[in-house]
C-alpha cells in the first residue's frame, strides 16, 4: 500500500514546522521537527520504505538499534496520522501524492 496525504488536508510548512488543517473535522495539527520531516517525505515519496530508509540513513547511520527505533517511530507516526485521517493508505498504482497549500 502506498501513502498519500488526504485530500481533506490543507498543509503548510512554517518556521515552526508543518501545520495541518483537516477540512472535514476542523482539526488543526502542528508537527514537531521530526514529524515535519516524516510528513514531507510521505508527501514526496508516498511509500513507507523510502521514508524509513532515508531517515535511518540520515540519523542512524550504521547503528542498527537506532535504525530499529527510527522504523518504529515512523510506523507509529504514520499510524497516528492515518487514524486521524491526515494520511490515507491507497493501492500502490494510484497517484500517491496530492499537495494542497495556501496560495
Amino acid at each position: 500500500m502506498s501513502l498519500r496525504i488526504s485530500e481533506a488536508v490543507i498543509w503548510q510548512e512554517t518556521g515552526e514546522g508543518v501545520s495541518l488543517y483537516h477540512t472535514e473535522t476542523g482539526d488543526f495539527h502542528s508537527l514537531n521537527d521530526t514529524g515535519s520531516r516524516i510528513w514531507k517525505l510521505v508527501a514526496s515519496d508516498g511509500e513507507r520504505e523510502p521514508v524509513m530508509f532515508k531517515l535511518s540513513r540520515e540519523f542512524a547511520g550504521s547503528n542498527s538499534a537506532m535504525s530499529r527505533r527510527i522504523v518504529a517511530d515512523v510506523e507509529e507516526f504514520i499510524g497516528t496520522m492515518i487514524e486521524q485521517g491526515f494520511i490515507e493508505e491507497v493501492p500502490a498504482e494510484q497517484p500517491a501524492v496530492k499537495e494542497e497549500s495556501l496560495s
Partner: protein, 477 residues
C-alpha cells in the same frame, strides 16, 4: 378515557396540546394568564416585548404541525427574509454578500405569532383551555405521575387526573421541585451565563422603507477585553420595526432616550442609528437580562411514567440566538412522531424525554459554543480556558491556524455554499455534520474574494441605499 394535561399555554404548550389532541380523548391546557384578545404581549411573558423570529427549521415544523400557519402569518403582516439574501449582516469578519441559501426567518411580534398559532391550534375546540389557572404540583409517585394539582381562578386546589402531564411552563418551570415532592430523582441542571443584556424598542417605520427594509444585524467586533455590543432591526407587522441593542457586561444598552440612541450610534456602523433617527418610537425602551443558557437534563433522570417536559422548561438558550420558538415547534413535531409510533402508553414514556431532548440538542450546543467563545473574546481569553478535544489546555493558535480561520470566516461571507452551510445550521434546517470539503479546499487555496466596503454592502439593497443617499445629502445641505 385518556386525558393529557399540558401545563403552560405559551407556544410550546399550545403546540404540544394540539399534537396530543390527536391521541388523547381529552386534552386540558392549563395557563396561568388570560390570553389577550388581540396580537399583544402577554402579561406572563415579559420577553414577548422583544424580538422574536421563527427560523427556517422552526417555520417548517410549525407548518407541518399546523399547515398554512406560515402563510397566515405572512398574510397578517409578518415578513419573510432570506438569510443572507434579504439581510444586511455585518459580522465580526465583514459584511455578508446578498446570497440566497434557502435559509430564512419569519419576523413578526410575539403577540401576532401567538395569536395566529392559538387561533389555528385551539380554534377547533379539541383542546380545553383553562386560563387563569395556576399549576401547583404533580400527583403520583416516583414511578408514575397520575395528575396535577391546580388552582382555577384562585379557587382551592383541585386534583386533575391525567395519563400524561407535559410541563411547558418555560424558564420558570417548577418541575424539579414538583418531582422532588413526589419522591422522584433530582434533575441535573447546567447554566452557562452570557453576561448579555439587551434593550428593545418598537418604531413606526418611514413609509418608503417599511416593507422593503432588509433584516439588519450588526454583530459585535472581535476586540478583546471589551464588551461585545451589537444591534438588530427586524421589520414586523403594521409597518413597524423592532430594534434590539445588545451588550455584554460593562457595555449593557441603556434604556433612556438619549442613551439608547447614543449606544446605537457608537456601534461599528451607524446604519441602525440612522434608521432609528428617521423612525417614530412607539412606547418605551424595554430591557431584558434573563439570557442565561440553562438546561435541565430530565432525560438523564429516572422520570416517572406519564410525565415529560418541553420547550424552555427543559432547554432554554440565550434568546439572542432566536431558537426558542423554533425548538418548541421541532419538539412538538417530535412529540407527534413519538405518539404516532407508540401511542399514549407505557412504551411512549420510556424514551420520550430523550427524544424531546434530541430536538433541542443542536440549538443548545450552538448557543453554548458561541456564547462561551464570545465570553472568551470579551475577557481576552483569560476567563475561558479553552481546551482541546483531549481536555488538554489549548495552545495559542499559530499563524497558519489564524490564517485558515480568518479565510474560512471571510469565505462564508461570499461563498454561496459555505453561507448555505452556516445559515442552514443557524436556522436549524441542517445539522452541519457534513462539511463541504471541496468548497473549503477551494476557498483556502484560491484567491480570497475581496471584502465588501460599507457602501457596497448597503448598495446591495437599492431602496435602502437610495434612502441613505438622500438622507446624507439632506444632512450635508
Amino acid at each position: 378515557m385518556t386525558r393529557a394535561v399540558v401545563l403552560g399555554g405559551g407556544l410550546a404548550g399550545v403546540l404540544a396540546a394540539t399534537v396530543l389532541a390527536g391521541h388523547a380523548d381529552e386534552v386540558v391546557l392549563v395557563e396561568g394568564d388570560r390570553y389577550p384578545s388581540g396580537p399583544r404581549p402577554r402579561r406572563g411573558l415579559p420577553q414577548s416585548h422583544h424580538s422574536h423570529v421563527l427560523v427556517a427549521g422552526g417555520a417548517r415544523a410549525l407548518d407541518a404541525l399546523l399547515p398554512g400557519t406560515v402563510d397566515a402569518l405572512l398574510a397578517d403582516g409578518a415578513h419573510l427574509r432570506d438569510l443572507p439574501g434579504d439581510a444586511l449582516i455585518y459580522s465580526a469578519d465583514g459584511w455578508f454578500r446578498r446570497l440566497h441559501t434557502g435559509a430564512h426567518l419569519i419576523s413578526c411580534t410575539r403577540g401576532l405569532l401567538d395569536q395566529v398559532v392559538r387561533r389555528r391550534a385551539l380554534g377547533g375546540g379539541d383542546v380545553e383551555v383553562w386560563e387563569d389557572t395556576r399549576a401547583l404540583g404533580l400527583t403520583g409517585d416516583e414511578v408514575r405521575v397520575t395528575g396535577v394539582s391546580v388552582s382555577r381562578q384562585g379557587s382551592p386546589p383541585e386534583t386533575v387526573r391525567a395519563d400524561l402531564v407535559i410541563d411547558a411552563t418555560g424558564r420558570r418551570s417548577q418541575s424539579p421541585r414538583w418531582l422532588a415532592e413526589i419522591g422522584a430523582a433530582d434533575i441535573e441542571e447546567v447554566s452557562v451565563a452570557t453576561g448579555l443584556a439587551y434593550a428593545t424598542r418598537l418604531y413606526r417605520a418611514p413609509v418608503d422603507l417599511a416593507a422593503t427594509i432588509p433584516a439588519i444585524m450588526l454583530h459585535p467586533g472581535t476586540e478583546k477585553g471589551r464588551p461585545a455590543r451589537g444591534a438588530t432591526l427586524f421589520p414586523v407587522e403594521d409597518g413597524r420595526w423592532i430594534v434590539t441593542l445588545t451588550g455584554t457586561r460593562g457595555g449593557e444598552p441603556p434604556t433612556d432616550e438619549q442613551g439608547y440612541a447614543a449606544f446605537a450610534r457608537s456601534l461599528r456602523h451607524p446604519i441602525v442609528a440612522d434608521l432609528m433617527a428617521e423612525a417614530t418610537p412607539l412606547g418605551v425602551v424595554r430591557p431584558y437580562r434573563d439570557t442565561v443558557n440553562r438546561r435541565r437534563f430530565f432525560e438523564r433522570a429516572r422520570l416517572p411514567a406519564g410525565f415529560a417536559v418541553v420547550g424552555d422548561a427543559a432547554v432554554a438558550v440565550n434568546p439572542i440566538h432566536s431558537h426558542g420558538m423554533s425548538v418548541a415547534a421541532l419538539g412538538a413535531l417530535r412529540l407527534r412522531e413519538e405518539l404516532a409510533r407508540h401511542g399514549m402508553g407505557p412504551s411512549l414514556f420510556a424514551g420520550l424525554q430523550s427524544a424531546l431532548a434530541e430536538e433541542a440538542e443542536r440549538s443548545w450546543r450552538m448557543a453554548v459554543e458561541q456564547d462561551t467563545q464570545r465570553a472568551g473574546q470579551q475577557a481576552g481569553d483569560r476567563v475561558v480556558e479553552r481546551a482541546g478535544r483531549d481536555g488538554a489546555p489549548r495552545r495559542e493558535p499559530n499563524a497558519f491556524e489564524r490564517e485558515i480561520r480568518t479565510r474560512l470566516a471571510q469565505a462564508k461571507l461570499s461563498s454561496p455554499r459555505l453561507a448555505a452551510e452556516f445559515f442552514g445550521v443557524q436556522t436549524l434546517i441542517s445539522a452541519g455534520t457534513v462539511k463541504d470539503r471541496s468548497e473549503i479546499a477551494r476557498v483556502l487555496t484560491g484567491r480570497p474574494e475581496p471584502l465588501l466596503t460599507d457602501e457596497e454592502a448597503i448598495g446591495q439593497y437599492p431602496a435602502l441605499a437610495a434612502w441613505r443617499r438622500t438622507r446624507l445629502a439632506a444632512a450635508t445641505g
